[in-house]
Symmetry: C2
Subunit: 438 residues, 2 copies
Amino acid sequence: MSRHASPVNDDNVKDTAASSDDVVAYMTSLGQAARAAGAAMRRHDTAAKNAALLAMARHLEVSRTSLLDANARDLARGRETGLDAAPLDRLALDDGRIDAMIEGLHQVAALPDPVGEIDGLRSRPSGIQVGQMRVPLGVIGIIYESRPNVTVEAASLCLKAGNACILRGGSEARESNAAIAACIDAGLREAGLPTSAVQVVATTDRAAVGCLIAMPEYVDVIIPRGGKSLIERISREARVPVIKHLDGVCHVYVDATADLDKAYAIAVNAKTQRYGTCNTMETLLLDAPVAAELLPRLAAAYAEHGVELRGCERTRSIVEGVVPAGEEDWAAEYLAPVLAIRVVDGIEDAMAHIERYGSHHTDAIVTENYGLARRFLAEVDSSSVMVNASTRFADGFEYGLGAEIGISTDKLHARGPVGLEGLTTRKYVVLGDGHVRG
Amino acid sequence: MSRHASPVNDDNVKDTAASSDDVVAYMTSLGQAARAAGAAMRRHDTAAKNAALLAMARHLEVSRTSLLDANARDLARGRETGLDAAPLDRLALDDGRIDAMIEGLHQVAALPDPVGEIDGLRSRPSGIQVGQMRVPLGVIGIIYESRPNVTVEAASLCLKAGNACILRGGSEARESNAAIAACIDAGLREAGLPTSAVQVVATTDRAAVGCLIAMPEYVDVIIPRGGKSLIERISREARVPVIKHLDGVCHVYVDATADLDKAYAIAVNAKTQRYGTCNTMETLLLDAPVAAELLPRLAAAYAEHGVELRGCERTRSIVEGVVPAGEEDWAAEYLAPVLAIRVVDGIEDAMAHIERYGSHHTDAIVTENYGLARRFLAEVDSSSVMVNASTRFADGFEYGLGAEIGISTDKLHARGPVGLEGLTTRKYVVLGDGHVRG
């Protein structure tokens, strides 16, 4: 079926039983088409996938006017319906953002194709050879909010990893997403790939999300991108595995054995380089012997940046103007110029704090002691553990993944920044020559 | 807390609100103890884990009499309550089975430790080094049925991979499991590992399973081992990721380009070497040009083994005595001396059949054609895909994993036979020297 077939009536969908039945039928048809496209994708090679990505980029380039027009209609409707400035900004496209989408497609096309790589092919005593081949997951459902550029990012990464995808963007971006979808569609056609390999959900009925996350027969994994409440709701209700990104309550622990200049640079950067990102430090843990020397220097730097400090009693006894920190501060993901500071007694105390209050996202130690560095790396149970580096490095691009579909705070499958590899799985391949089991 | 603390009253637990509260409190205490033990396990090295495994083996050796006594009480109660012969056989211990448990512990101790391995440590343009370290999952819940030797297998694999585990065996094996648990406990103590690293659930109240699968704060993954109905129920109700093993509807496709002697050997072995295993062939697909030559030879061999044949019309026109196969036969996991046979027209037809009716477990092609072998490996979406080998090879030991906790039919995390590596995850490690993000 065509990905533009049977779109349910859009704006004026009512939450009635009849329209719900329509949504179920529509989402089922998308699921079936995606499953078929996913199977077909296993027959297409790297060259075809790259050709499609580059063709999509060309279609975005020549469609700038219609993209900006569609986006202007979304923005006008957003303003009418009283959207705040922040979501309006996320929704907005301009030439720079279209350039970035085009550049992103070129970058994904240039990435090595993970599909087909065989690891560890070894001969067994029985005579068979056994290895593991990297293969697409199959069908990926992505649920996101107002940013229309996610449509291009998600489509390109899923496609490069050999998957079919179903994309459900925010209703506020529906005209922008439809215009982008047309470019994606044209690119797929041009490269001879199945157009159902990328399907953009054409209804804004919220029941569509409920369907998408409950079709294990058609969808292999759901990746929600958005606020915590969206992700929590989807994780709770999904009947399909979810790769999710929850809190980033990140710590920097400065041990007594730290080089204090490095500690200063890292503690300032981890907090102030950006406030709203998940890998920003939210709690600074200072080993007692260095607190008195380091805290005043840091407090001055944070004051310059306008960072509010909330601290334990020992912190407050060293520097002035620190708000008393409570239990809720140790667990807080501020995403704002606010920092919790605690003076601790050594690495055990620091690791116990991280285990109790952290979110297992990204945690760093600053130390010159080899044994402590080794312990911290082994014992802190977070998706990224760092020695003498800013938590802000926890990012797919910084790690060299080339692109990032998100950061996983799950332990299974993909943990930490998720690139193309996280959109694949591995199956066993067995090569014999008439071998049978004895 | 000790793993034998606060066992809820056992046989005579009533399904009342009061006892349910007790079960919740009990399971919560196990969960908390497991979480703490999991954290502690990250501090213990390979030598300590191996010492514990070998100490457990010694304790099993010297406890033979009490193990057999406990098992005899389980068997007597099983007979009284009318257990069938098959579950009674699975429940029974004898010296040979105790030997096998002891040998299993030695084998797991001899396996390489997966924990701590760092892959792909590379320098990035920013100056940091980034790699991925293999680490324990944390806390693993295992739910199984009557076989008491699973208690030792599951405990040893979880422990070697650095995890804490909570084991919930069948109530019919409760005395055997308690006796085995005492040996495990003694082994952990002797090696200085936390005894809560392996906890055997001491209540037979079925509410305990419901608790175990709904404590994401204490349990990282559930592995159910048992019949399909158990696994489906757990997957449906779990609030924790589940590594599951559902159907094995395995196919052998014999292409026209096959060496027919190899095809004969593989088709006979894949069906008749064992009937009740998930990697047994359930449907044989024969390419039309070779069906007339191969089918009579195979039918004779299957007749000798007492295998009932159910076939499509073309099959029935070639050999006599074949029952007509219906849709339900193509989807059947017989686990019995029954085989479905279909004559197909080439690899496309065969792969379409496998995609439609298969369970994505293990599928094989028999061919001497390089291009067809390559296509089958790339395009068939199963946890094991094979060329010229019997599906019966799909097994952790045959693949060289050393041991197997189960076979996963999931796509995410672990796919196919799951060994120690499937009980671990990878986190990013970042090594810097005061590096900050620009």
